[in-house]
């Protein structure tokens, strides 16, 4: 009984220590951001590594998600004689949910892991310590540009995902199934609100961009500097970032679309 209480207490205390360390890292990241953003060339390089390099996987996944949404939506909607609403279904589900969420999950797998591994290896190779020795702040020089790179890249990737998905849905619905193109677009335009749906989707993707990038940076920065430590940290990045994105998505949806 005593041992159980001790275990719970120790677990809670170490969790609190971790949360505190994460919050402090986040705070110092934000505090050093103005100086990091002043050297914007570093951020631009990170946008290239995180954004451009993820473009192909985001584009292809978006296309196939759009295909599948249109096909599945069509089979259900035509039972009720409203097959034209498939455009609305594809657009709303992509813009509100699937665009930001699936893009964030792919971003965690494609870009988050590489961030964690890169920073973890820098730590294992004592490069971060060497930087500190030379009075270069690793948070400002290494972490902050990556953070802002992810922050900029994520909403753009989510928008690309949704747009390509809608084009994919159009490809299946109009040329393949033969739904009237005018009805497809007009139903979509009648039901999608620019601010309530598209705007909230963009807000979601911004939140997910911060979440995924910060989880990846934190795991890399706090991993134990061994090969096993780096590999465990990379795994933790994917698991934690995905869970955080899904949980946050539920909360954001409940806040945004509750009426």
């Amino acid at each position: 009984m005593m041992a159980l209480a001790t275990r719970i207490g120790a677990g809670l205390r170490s969790t609190l220590v971790d949360v505190g360390a994460a919050a402090r890292l986040f705070g110092s990241l934000l505090a050093r951001s103005p100086k990091a953003l002043a050297r914007f060339v570093l951020v631009r390089e990170q946008v290239f590594y995180l954004g451009n390099r993820s473009l192909s996987i985001i584009g292809v996944s978006g296309l196939f998600v759009g295909f599948v949404l249109a096909l599945q939506g069509y089979y259900t909607l035509q039972r009720y004689g409203s097959a034209e609403a498939v455009g609305l279904l594809v657009a709303l589900s992509l813009v509100r949910e699937l665009g930001p969420v699936v893009a964030a999950l792919l971003f965690a797998g494609r870009a988050g892991t590489s961030l964690t591994a890169e920073i973890g290896l820098m730590k294992a190779g004592e490069q971060l310590t060497a930087m500190e020795m030379m009075a270069v702040d690793p948070v400002q020089r290494v972490l902050a540009p990556r953070f802002w790179g992810g922050f900029i890249a994520m909403p753009l990737l989510a928008a690309v995902f949704s747009a390509v998905g809608i084009i994919g849905g159009w490809l299946v619905a109009v040329p393949l199934i033969g739904i009237d193109a005018g009805a497809f677009w007009s139903q979509m335009q009648g039901g999608v609100d620019v601010f309530a749906d598209v705007g909230n989707g963009v807000i979601k993707s911004l939140v997910f961009g911060v979440t995924v990038t910060f989880v990846a940076l934190l795991q890399g920065y706090t991993c134990s500097p061994t090969p096993e430590g780096v590999s465990a940290a990379t795994t933790r990045t994917v698991v934690l970032a995905s869970l955080a994105v899904l949980a946050l998505d539920f909360m954001l949806t409940a806040l945004m679309f509750s009426i």
Binding site: G51, L156, V160, Q189, V198
Partner: protein, 163 residues
Amino acid sequence: MQSSRYDAWVGFFVLIGGAALLFLALKAGNLLSLNFDETYQVSARFDNIGGLKARAAVKSAGVVVGRVESISFDDKTFQAKVVLNLHKATLFPKDSSAKILTAGLLGEQYIGLEPGAEEKNLASGDVIRQTQSAVVLENLIGQFINSKASDMGSAAPASGSKP
């Protein structure tokens, strides 16, 4: 300004992302049709608004001339008070009437405005006097059953008194 060899590619990426956002806003969300026209507000009281919602269309002759701004309950008259935003460009006579109609069999509900004949036009803050409530399916069924029952009731004694 430092430059790097990735600048062009990053520029491309940002342009593609911007184009995707623009596509979502214009093609899917139809931003261009958003009306930033000036409007004037009139209100109307209905006995029953059925499933009418805020932001529903106000149509006259099938053309959208405004939107429902808000719906509230008036506890003096026990009626629903509906505030309408009508476009400044469309003016209606003071004695116009408002009905709550349904688009299609199961479609969304909207307000239909029928122009009256008076010289003066509705101005901001006016109240539309003549209104017709939404058709509630349960009430219709209730009426139908009542009329059937009274038919049966009058028919039964007639047949019973025959022999």
